[in-house]
Symmetry: C2
Subunit: 369 residues, 2 copies
C-alpha cells in the first residue's frame, strides 16, 4: 500500500473557532494513481500539457468546445494531500471525507478497472491512515465490471478509513436503478456503507454549449442527480434496498424544488403509484444531503423537507476556486468564497444546535466517528 | 368574432368563502379553433378517435409510447367553457386567465399561423367578453412567423380582455433568448404585457421513456422552464428588456432550488459574469410566478427568494384531473385534489395578508383589475 507524504498535520492551524471545526463530506481529490491514468489517455477524460500548462479535461465534449479554453488548469490543489490539508486548516475543516473526482472509473472496462480501483482505494486508505484522523474516504468502484464491484466491496471491509463509495448516476451504464445494479446496491446496504451519488454527465447538455461551463454545472449537474434519484424512487429500485444510505450531492440538487410536483405526478399516475410502497417525498426523507446549496433559504427548505439529522457540511473543493485570485497567489492558502458561502448559509440558521449538527455532529453520528 | 355560449355565469355558485375567491393565472383550454386544427392533423399534436374514445396526443414522441395508452382522453373539461366555469365555481375561483394549452402554434409556419392565431385570439376575447368578468386571456402568437408576431401583438391591443401572451421555451425555434426574438420581446415589454412562459418539450426526455408521463411532467417540464429562464439570464437577453414581465410556470420550476448554485457558477465564470448587469438571483426577483408548487415549504421558499408581490394562484386545470374519479362521475363537477393541494399550500402560510395577496390581490394589482 503506497504511502503519501503528509507534512503539516501534527499541529494543524485552526484559523476559525471551534464552531467551525467542521466535517466536510463533499471534497474531491485526483489521487496519484488517477493522475497517472488520466495522463496516459488521449480521449476525455485526460490531463495534458496545453500551451505550457497542465490542463484537466473531464466534461463530456469539453475537448470540442470553442467558446472557452479547453478544460481547466490542474494545480496541486487537485492532487496534493498537503494542499488539501492546508485548505482544510485555512477554512476550519477538521475532517474531510475524500472522494475521487468525477468521472471515477466509469470509462474503464474489464480487469483493468478492478486493478486500478484496488490501487486507488489502497492509496486513499493509506493517505487517511497517515492523516492523524483528518481524512476519511469514499472508495471508488470498478463500475463497469459487476463481479469486480462485489469483490472490491468485500475487500474494502479491511480498509478501516473507508466510509462508503462514490458513484456516478449511470452505474454500470444503464442507471443506478437498473436491475444489473441491484445486488451491488444490496451489498452496499448490507455493509452499512454510504453511497455518495455525484453527477458528471449532465442532463440537457444540448442547451449549454454557448455558456461556458456555467449552465452545465449550475443546471446540467443537478438535473442529472435529480433524474437519478427520481428514477430510483419511481422505478421501485429503492424498495429493494430500504436501508440504503444515499448521500445526494449539492444539497439534493433540484429534488427540493420538485418533490411536491413529483409527489403529485406520481399520485396522478396509477401505474407508477400502485407499484410504490411510499410517496416520493417519503423516500427523500430517508436520504442524506450535503449542505452545498449556496442559499440560506434553500438550506432551510431542505431541513423543512427532510429534517435536520441528514444534512452535512460540504465544500466541493477543489472545484469553484477563488475567482479573483491574483496571479502569484497560492490557491491553497487563499480564502475560498465558495466555501465561505456554504459556512454563511449554515451559520444563518437561527439555531446553534442545528448549526453544529450540520457542521459536524450529524457526520459524527452517521459515520460513527 | 365567434361567440361561445356560456350558460351559468349569471349566478355562479360560490361554494367557498370569500377567502377563496381566487384569481387563477395558470389555467388552460383547447379553444374550438384549436380543436379543429388538432383534429385535422396526422402528426403529434393531434386529437383522434382511438378505441372509440377521443384522445389528445400532444407530448413529443407520445404516439410511439408502448408503456402507457397513447395520449389521454379529451373530455369537455379541455374545450368547453361551461365546464371551465363549473370547475371554477366548484373551487372558489372568481376569475381565470385562460391560456391555450401547449404546444400552441409552435408547429405551424408561415401565413397559416397568423390566420389561426387571429381566430384563436378572437375566440378567446369573445369568450372573455361573454363571461361577466369571470374570464381573461393570455393570447397565442404565431411564433414561427416573426413579422406576423409583431402584427398580431399590435392587433391584440384592440382585444381588451387579453392580458399577455403564452409562449413556449423555443420561441421561433432557437430559444426565447435568441436574437431573433429580441424585437418581439421588446414589443411585449412595451405593451406592458405578461409573457406566460410554459414548457412543452421537456429536457432530459431520454431518461423518462419507461416511466409513463410521471417523470416527463415532474422533471422534464420544470427542467425545460429552468433552462429557458437561466439562458435568458446568462446570455444577457433580459438586459435588453429590463421591464419585461415574465410569468414562470409551476412556481418557478427548478429555479428556486438552483438559484444559489446559478449565482455561484456565474460568479466563478468571468466570461459570463462580466457580461451581465446583475446576479441571476436579482433577475429572478423581477419575474412573476404561479403558486403551483404542491409544497408549502417550497411556496414559502419562493416568497423568501422573490418576495410576496409576484406570486399568484394557479391550478394547471384541466391537467392533473382527479385520479380516483368513479367511472360515471363528471370531472367538471368533481373536487380536484391537485387544485385543493394548491389551496392548502397557500392557506398554510401563517399570514392572512400574504394568503390574500397570492390568492387574488397580486393578480388584481399586476393585471390592473
Amino acid at each position: 500500500m503506497k504511502k503519501i507524504l503528509i507534512n503539516n498535520t501534527k499541529n494543524p492551524r485552526r484559523l476559525f473557532s471551534s464552531k467551525r471545526a467542521s466535517i466536510d463530506v463533499h471534497t474531491h481529490m485526483y489521487l496519484p494513481k488517477y493522475m497517472e491514468v488520466l495522463k496516459s489517455r488521449v480521449d476525455v477524460p485526460y490531463v495534458r500539457t496545453i500551451n505550457d500548462e497542465n490542463r484537466l479535461v473531464i466534461l463530456p465534449g469539453e475537448d470540442k468546445e470553442t467558446t472557452t479554453a479547453i478544460g481547466r488548469p490542474i494545480g496541486k490543489e487537485y492532487y496534493d494531500v498537503n494542499s488539501k490539508l492546508a485548505y482544510m486548516d485555512k477554512h476550519g475543516i477538521d475532517i474531510s471525507c475524500i472522494s475521487l473526482a468525477n468521472p471515477w472509473l466509469d470509462f474503464i472496462e474489464g480487469d483493468a478497472a478492478e486493478n486500478i480501483a484496488q490501487e486507488l482505494n489502497d492509496e486513499l486508505q493509506g493517505m487517511c491512515e497517515e492523516s492523524n484522523g483528518r481524512l476519511l474516504g469514499f472508495a471508488t468502484l470498478p463500475v463497469k465490471n459487476h463481479d469486480a464491484c462485489l469483490r472490491e466491496l468485500e475487500r474494502l471491509k479491511t480498509l478501516k478509513h473507508i466510509k462508503g463509495v462514490i458513484l456516478g448516476t449511470p452505474g454500470a451504464g444503464h442507471g443506478l436503478d437498473h436491475i444489473g445494479m441491484r445486488d451491488i446496491l444490496a451489498k452496499i446496504e448490507d455493509m452499512n456503507y454510504m453511497i455518495f451519488l455525484h453527477p458528471h454527465y449532465g442532463v440537457g447538455v444540448e442547451h449549454y454549449h454557448d455558456t461556458g461551463h456555467a449552465l452545465f454545472l449550475a443546471l446540467g449537474f443537478p438535473f442529472e442527480t435529480t433524474v437519478c434519484v427520481s428514477r430510483m424512487i419511481v422505478t421501485g429500485a429503492l424498495d429493494h434496498v430500504p436501508n440504503l444510505k444515499l448521500l445526494v450531492a449539492h444539497a439534493g440538487a433540484a429534488m427540493p424544488s420538485l418533490i411536491g410536483r413529483l409527489d403529485s405526478c406520481v399520485a396522478h399516475d396509477y401505474a407508477i403509484a400502485s407499484n410504490l410502497q411510499h410517496s416520493p417525498s417519503d423516500y427523500l426523507k430517508r436520504m442524506y444531503f450535503d449542505a452545498i446549496a449556496y442559499s440560506g433559504t434553500n438550506l432551510k427548505g431542505l431541513i423543512d423537507h427532510v429534517g435536520s439529522d441528514r444534512i452535512m457540511f460540504g465544500t466541493d473543493n477543489p472545484f469553484f476556486p477563488p475567482p479573483d485570485l491574483a496571479g502569484d497567489e497560492d490557491v491553497s492558502s487563499a480564502i475560498w468564497p465558495s466555501t465561505e458561502k456554504v459556512y454563511h448559509t449554515i451559520n444563518d440558521i437561527d439555531d446553534n444546535v442545528l448549526v453544529q449538527k450540520i457542521l459536524r455532529e450529524n457526520a459524527k453520528q452517521i459515520f460513527d466517528l
